[in-house]
Symmetry: C2
Subunit: 181 residues, 2 copies
């Protein structure tokens, strides 16, 4: 999985680099660990933001946090910090010898969207997939158009469609990998 802070859009649709949110790191890494995700990439080109992520992760990996809550360490160990999606893909290629297919998620509808069941079936043949989540008001249009696949938005049973990225990540993983009882 990758959580992207650039290029995303703000409320007015402008492309920005969003700030890293501490609880995104904790919640999404714990969900990733729960559902057997291999790596959780935090993508930001901003030096101060990369340093912040490193500081948080190190606190839980080697600092007092590691002693206080070893289960948190197991989850945050999944995190790698990268400048860009290209760097993420390069890293996966180095680690596995293979390039992942990219799957973007968004709250919007698009004719290219595929359903959760379809993606679940695709995951079964051993192909590497990289699930990409956007922060802020979502991934930029251009970024999304370059992905191999776009996943359906997570819908509830109302027309309110404004989940946090942390909640959306948890639900997407559960729909793909969860034991339903």
């Amino acid at each position: 999985m990758a959580l992207v802070h650039y290029p995303v859009v703000n409320k007015n649709g402008e492309v920005i680099a969003s700030a890293v949110t501490n609880l995104d790191l904790h919640d999404i890494s714990r969900s990733a660990k729960t559902y057997g995700v291999r790596s959780f990439y935090v993508v930001t080109p901003l030096t101060d933001q990369k340093e912040l992520v490193e500081k948080i992760v190190l606190h839980w990996l080697k600092g007092t946090g590691a002693r206080y809550n070893p289960k948190r360490r197991e989850a945050l160990e999944l995190i790698s910090i990268k400048d860009s999606l290209d760097e993420v893909i390069e890293h996966i290629r180095e680690q596995t010898g293979d390039s992942p297919k990219t799957v973007v998620t968004s709250a919007g509808h698009n004719p290219r969207n595929i359903g959760f069941r379809r993606l679940g079936e695709m995951l079964e043949d051993g192909t590497l997939y990289l699930l990409i989540l956007g922060t802020g008001w979502g991934l930029s249009e251009k970024f999304m158009s370059e992905a191999d696949y776009m996943l359906n938005p997570v819908l509830g049973n109302t027309d309110y469609n404004h989940l946090s990225v942390r909640s959306a990540a948890a639900i997407i993983l559960d729909r793909l990998f969860g034991k339903k009882e």
Copy 2:
């Protein structure tokens, strides 16, 4: 739904009142709104914590937050602050003329647990249910034993069983009410 900050246990199993986490309010109210939950009760007996919740909610309901992000307002409107679960049940009784059946959630296994499918079926007959989530290291044993039902833990496909309460709330609502494609 209710998010309970007392009586919950800490890491050492002692009964405590936990501190309110800002993002619990945001994430869980947005998930609740997405899945058509009627009310989201934040339960804490601590005066300073109640004041904090009130301050956060008012910022998004009437302050600059309401203008900045009206969608956030729609979600946070679901929040009511109560001292105890008894007060929550009394409030529901006043509002609806009916007492809810209580359903507690936890990360643990218990012979009394019911599955998600079973609860989904039970929800269809129009009975009022109150889904209760614990903060900290979970609801106290005594508190759980007094509930009408206990729901299965949310399991992934690994033996890592440490989701955040925000993620667990999102997944539980999606399992009960989500449209799966």
